[in-house]
Symmetry: C2
């Protein structure tokens, strides 16, 4: 099998984030089957508005590789990235983006500013949405239902 | 005088970034006359694709205040923020954004995805562009001319 999805690991990171009281989103940076970094949302824990799962794994993988460019690396995330994260994915030159549930309210890929679709976007990854989206969406629904 | 611009400090941070071999952009987070954080681009130094001046000061100020929301705080930056930084400014609930030079190639405020202008943008700051833009633009021009 050529392609092994890292979505199960991303979903595990999302569940761990929910258990910490964070919005349940998880992300993985990989190179082929190798996982370079995996984490979930830590905005509240770190008092950091930028500590989305995607930003945390981009930073960790870049630090690990000693370069700010993640050429040849893929990002798997349980939710459609927001505009901030889409911008970071472009800056980091991520090769492929795999995501779970679409996010009509806050997404920045197929919704809102559609960051990768702009003529000024210097690098867009290959994009594959809707992967295990039922599982990712169920996690988010359960989390927000419990907080109401 | 009610308003004291923090642009001189942001420009000093941009010059310090250039001296480190980084793209010369500097940023300040302030609450009135008080500076909460000031820094310049550190993408290469930190091997961090997200280490734009804006992201560094947003993170530093949030850590200092112990909250991921910077309500009542203002961001001053020498260049029009990119889509990543515009997204982060929205997430952090920054009250006012002051910037210097416009960035037709990579900006995300008045160019490209125009992040704050979207109906899905949950928070947009008050925006004041073109502040000391000649000085900010000259810094960038000199930097890129020297690298060619």
């Amino acid at each position: 099998m050529r392609f092994a999805s890292h979505m199960p690991r991303a979903l595990a990171e999302a569940r761990a984030a929910a258990a910490r009281g964070e919005t349940p989103v998880g992300a993985v940076i990989s190179r082929g089957t190798e996982i370079l970094a995996a984490d979930g949302n830590r905005v509240r824990e770190l008092s950091d508005p930028t500590a989305h799962a995607e930003i945390l794994v981009l930073r960790a993988a870049a630090r690990r590789l000693g370069t700010e460019r993640l050429a040849g690396c893929d990002l798997t995330v349980t939710l459609e990235p927001c505009p901030m994260c889409a911008g970071a994915i472009s800056l980091a030159r991520v090769a492929r983006l795999y995501y779970g549930a679409a996010d009509p309210k806050s997404g920045g890929v197929e919704h809102g500013p559609r960051v990768f679709a702009r003529s000024t976007c210097h690098h867009a990854p290959e994009i594959y949405g809707g992967i295990a989206e039922a599982a990712a969406a169920a996690l988010l629904r359960a989390f927000f239902a419990a907080r109401r």
